[in-house]
Structure formats: structure tokens, C-alpha cells
């Protein structure tokens, strides 16, 4: 097998004594959309928190672009191009839209590219340009999600991890976010998506993993996972 952009080996993570993720392994190939699905509390967000450096793993190893990043702080991961768009968006509410975008380009690899990055963000999300001087906290949920994605893109990611990007959004806006993820893939970006909308996510993904109670229970081509009778019963209610 070729060298994957992200390679996770036997990763375990815990909050205090409670393990939320146990011996989970996966890989993300360059240029792909990789999806991670599972019910609430399956350990999906824990996994992304470990990958972004917010929650130090208890065991296991994470390799990004051939280098061991298991114990690197968050800012060095961003510097290497591993960027997360977190659940709940975590935009800076008192910063204007433009300040939110600027802070997204604080890493050294992105800083020189700031003006170009702003242009790209506004081209991708014209709504953000209209609201560029408005505080981030005053945007609607959908706009905040766009801002969070745009802020992540400002860092010039090589792998963009999206945690529940459509959670709490109206169906039309959620669909726009899915279409945007496909667009991003077409520009050559690698994506890792954690999503509660299993059906729609598996439709756009290339490869998928299923998490249950903190452990990986299934992995395969997204098409095959989508066609699997067990998945259809447990997650799609069909």
C-alpha cells in the first residue's frame, strides 16, 4: 500500500478514567474524502480532538505526511497542514468575519498568503464578504459554519477535518455544505468528515469507517458501507 497522508495506529483516548476511543486505526489517502460515521457517543468527536491535539492520546500513534505527530501541540499540526473545523464551529464571536479569517492564517505557512486567502474565502462564500465587518457572533448558524470552514481553509490545509459540519443546519443549507465539500475535493484537498447524516456523507465519501462504542467495527469503500444491510438497518433505519 502507498503511504497514506494520515495514518492512525491503535489510538486510544480517554477523559479521566473513561475511555472514549480504544485501539482505533485508520488511514486517509491523499485526494480522498474519508468519512467516519457512527451514533452519538461512538467516539467520533473524541477521535478528532485527539487528531487536532486538544486531547492527548493515551496510547497509539498518529502519522501525518510521514512524520510522527502523536504528541505534537495543536499549532504545529496546523503548521504541517492538518486543520480542523470543530463541532459547534468555535468561531470568535467578538471578532469580525474578517478578523476570524485573519486569525485562521496565523500559521507561518499561511501568513504570507493572507490577502489571497481572503479573496479565495470570499469567492467561495460571497455571503461572508457582505458581512465582513460584522461580528462573527451575529451570523446565522449556516453562515457561522461557512465562516468556520473558510477560517480552516485560510490555514492552507493539506487535510481538512470537519466535525459535524451540518449539525443543526436547515436541510437546504446542509445540502450546500455537502456540495461545498465535494467542490473542495475537486480542488485537490483531502477531507476527513465526521457526520451524523450517514446517508448523505457516504454518498460523497470515497472511503468510510464505522465507529461503535469507541471501537472501529467496519471499514471499506463508502459505496460498500452504504450498501451493507447492517449499516442500513442501524444508521439509516431502512
Amino acid at each position: 500500500m502507498s503511504q497514506a497522508l494520515l495514518q492512525v495506529t491503535d489510538l486510544s483516548a480517554a477523559y479521566g478514567q473513561v475511555f472514549a476511543l480504544r485501539d482505533f486505526s485508520c488511514r486517509v489517502e491523499e485526494g480522498n474524502i474519508t468519512a467516519l460515521v457512527g451514533s452519538n457517543g461512538a467516539g467520533k468527536t473524541t477521535f478528532l480532538r485527539s487528531l487536532s491535539g486538544l486531547l492527548p492520546p493515551r496510547q497509539g500513534r498518529v502519522d501525518f505526511d510521514g512524520g510522527d505527530i502523536t504528541h505534537q501541540p495543536s499549532d504545529q499540526r496546523v503548521e504541517a497542514g492538518l486543520v480542523m473545523v470543530p463541532e459547534g464551529r468555535l468561531i470568535f464571536p467578538t471578532f469580525t468575519v474578517e478578523q476570524n479569517l485573519k486569525i485562521g492564517a496565523i500559521s507561518k505557512r499561511a501568513r504570507d498568503d493572507l490577502a489571497e486567502g481572503l479573496e479565495r474565502s470570499y469567492a467561495l462564500f460571497p455571503k461572508l464578504e457582505q458581512r465582513r465587518h460584522q461580528p462573527g457572533g451575529t451570523l446565522s448558524g449556516g453562515e457561522q459554519q461557512m465562516l468556520a470552514v473558510a477560517r480552516g481553509l485560510m490555514a492552507r490545509p493539506r487535510l481538512l477535518m470537519l466535525d459535524e459540519p451540518t449539525l443543526g443546519l436547515a436541510p437546504l443549507i446542509a445540502e450546500a455544505i455537502f456540495e461545498m465539500m465535494v467542490q473542495l475535493k475537486e480542488t485537490g484537498l483531502t477531507l476527513l468528515i465526521v457526520e451524523q447524516d450517514v446517508n448523505r456523507t457516504l454518498q460523497i465519501a470515497d472511503y468510510a469507517y464505522v465507529l461503535e462504542n469507541g471501537a472501529g467495527v467496519m471499514a471499506g469503500e463508502a459505496q460498500d458501507i452504504l450498501a451493507d444491510p447492517k449499516v442500513r438497518e442501524s444508521y439509516l433505519g431502512i
Binding site: 495543536s74 499549532d75 470543530p86 468555535l90 470568535f92 486569525i103 496565523i106
Partner: protein, 296 residues
């Protein structure tokens, strides 16, 4: 009530306000970025004052030079405190959750130790020195050269600091960390570095303010405490973690105190300051300009 309209009083209020703004900016930086309740903050004013006093009495160096030394030494103490204690505490998420309460006790202990060390070396006696004591007249305002110098230097430093924090990329990173720690980490801010610089800058500008204050009032080991209280009143008035609000609130408290004392009398100073403090907590706990306590 003629005195209320005298330019003299206006100058006095500006001097006090600018110093409060500067000192509370330091406290706000430290509280905002790390949620550390530095109740030893006023002791940095005291240390800065003693540095200026020693520089003058031993080497005949005036406070306008020694204030840089005070800033560097106090900033160095901040660096030392960060490296020896807070870096470890802040990187452990379980300790972090309880750090705010515990830091209060920790700094209280530091305050007692520092004050007693200073008493040991310098005695508890009041110290002071003469510096630029000639009266300067600008229009109707008559004030000593030293007070004029404090007004100018204090204004320049505090305005420069506020502008830097508001418009530079590093200032944006500090403001981001004040708003949300996790969000700051994931956008790529070097949280560790921002925390260290916040402590260094916060301690440094407070030490600098202390050097300036050494020409205005007697220098004693316990002179810092009123500044600790005023600084806390100011950052609560301006909204915790709101740097710009705190700056304006510092000026405001300076005016309230000087004009309030002019109307009532110096024995009412503490009543005024604490009265404002309690009043805010009752009627506007999020601060006059505050947006409420920002989420962690």
C-alpha cells in the same frame, strides 16, 4: 465647587486614570488569557517603585530611565513564574479546570512572601526621593515636572499597548485566546507562547507603572494593595478580559476617584472605590462595557 472645574484637578484625574489603565491592562491580560487571579498584582507596582528608588539612590538614575529596567525585571519575573509554575499547570487539562480558584490562594501567598521580603531588606519605613520637583506651568495648569512626565509617559505607553493589542496579528492572537482556548489552539495559535508573553507583558507594564508611581507617593512594602484592588475594580468595570473596555474603565475610575475625593474628602477614597466595585457587581455584573464573561 469651583475646584471641580479647575484644570489642576483634571490633570490629577488624568494621571491617576492613565496609571490605573496601565496597571489594569496588565491584570486583564493575565486574567484574560490564563484565568489567573493575580491578587499579587499591586506588589509588582511596589517592586517597580523600589527598583526606581534604588536606581536613583544608588546610581543616580532617574525613573524615566529606570522604568525600562523595572519593566524588564518585572517581565523577567513573569517569565520565571510562567516557566517554573504556570506552564505545567496550564498544560494539564484537569488542573486547568481548577486553576482559577487555586491561583487566588497561590498569588495571595506570593503577595505575603514578597511584602515580607521587601520589609526584611528595606524595613517597613516609607522611602522616597526628589525628582523633577520644580513646578511646570502649562496654561492654567501648574504641576511638578515629575507629574507631567508621568502623565506623558503613562499615556504614550498605555495607548501604544492598546493599539498594539488591537491591531497587530499577535494582539489578535491574544484576544482570540481570551475568547476561547480550544478555538485558539485549533486555528494554529501557539497558545503556550501567547500565554508566556501575556504574563511577561502584563508583569512588565505593571512594573513600569510602579517606577512612574515612585515619584508620586511614598514607597512602602504595602503600597501595592490599593492598586490590586483598583485594578480588579477596573477590569470588572470594563468587562473581564475586555482589554479596550478595561483601558477606558481605568481612566473612568481615575476620574471617579479624584473628583469623588475632591467633593467628599480623602478619607472617603476607599469607600468610593469599593462602593463602585459593589455597585457594579449588583447592577451590572458583566461590566459597564462588558459583553459578559467570555466562555472558556
Amino acid at each position: 465647587m469651583d475646584i471641580l472645574f479647575s484644570p489642576q484637578l483634571l490633570a490629577a484625574a488624568l494621571i491617576t486614570g492613565v496609571l490605573y489603565a496601565l496597571i489594569s491592562l496588565g491584570l486583564n491580560l493575565i486574567y484574560g488569557t490564563m484565568r489567573l487571579l493575580n491578587v499579587a498584582h499591586g506588589d509588582l507596582v511596589m517592586i517597580g517603585s523600589y527598583i526606581a528608588f534604588m536606581a536613583f539612590s544608588l546610581f543616580n538614575v532617574g525613573p524615566l530611565i529606570s522604568m525600562f529596567g523595572a519593566a524588564i525585571i518585572c517581565g523577567g519575573l513573569g517569565w520565571l513564574a510562567y516557566r517554573s509554575v504556570f506552564q505545567n499547570l496550564l498544560s494539564n487539562s484537569e488542573i486547568l479546570a481548577r486553576l482559577e480558584e487555586n491561583s487566588l490562594l497561590l498569588f495571595f501567598g506570593i503577595s505575603v512572601v514578597v511584602q515580607n521580603l521587601v520589609i526584611l531588606f528595606f524595613t517597613a519605613d516609607r522611602q522616597g526621593y526628589e525628582y523633577l520637583s520644580a513646578i511646570v506651568e502649562i496654561g492654567d495648569v501648574r504641576l511638578t515636572g515629575a507629574r507631567l512626565a508621568v502623565l506623558i509617559v503613562g499615556s504614550v505607553v498605555s495607548i501604544a499597548a492598546v493599539l498594539y493589542l488591537r491591531f497587530s496579528l499577535f494582539g489578535l492572537a491574544i484576544n482570540a485566546l481570551i475568547q476561547n482556548r480550544d478555538a485558539s489552539a485549533i486555528v494554529g495559535i501557539n497558545v503556550d507562547r501567547v500565554q508566556m508573553f501575556s504574563l511577561v507583558i502584563g508583569f512588565g507594564i505593571t512594573g513600569l507603572a510602579g517606577a512612574l508611581i515612585s515619584v508620586l507617593e511614598p514607597i512602602t512594602p504595602v503600597m501595592g494593595f490599593p492598586y490590586t484592588m483598583s485594578a480588579f475594580v477596573v477590569i470588572i468595570l470594563g468587562g473581564l478580559g475586555n482589554l479596550w473596555g478595561g483601558f477606558l474603565a481605568g481612566l473612568l475610575l481615575g476620574f471617579l476617584e479624584i473628583y469623588g475625593v475632591a467633593v467628599t474628602g480623602p478619607e472617603w477614597r476607599s469607600v468610593l472605590v469599593y462602593g463602585i466595585f459593589i455597585g457594579i457587581l449588583i447592577f451590572r455584573p458583566q461590566g459597564l462595557l462588558g459583553r459578559g464573561r467570555v466562555a472558556r
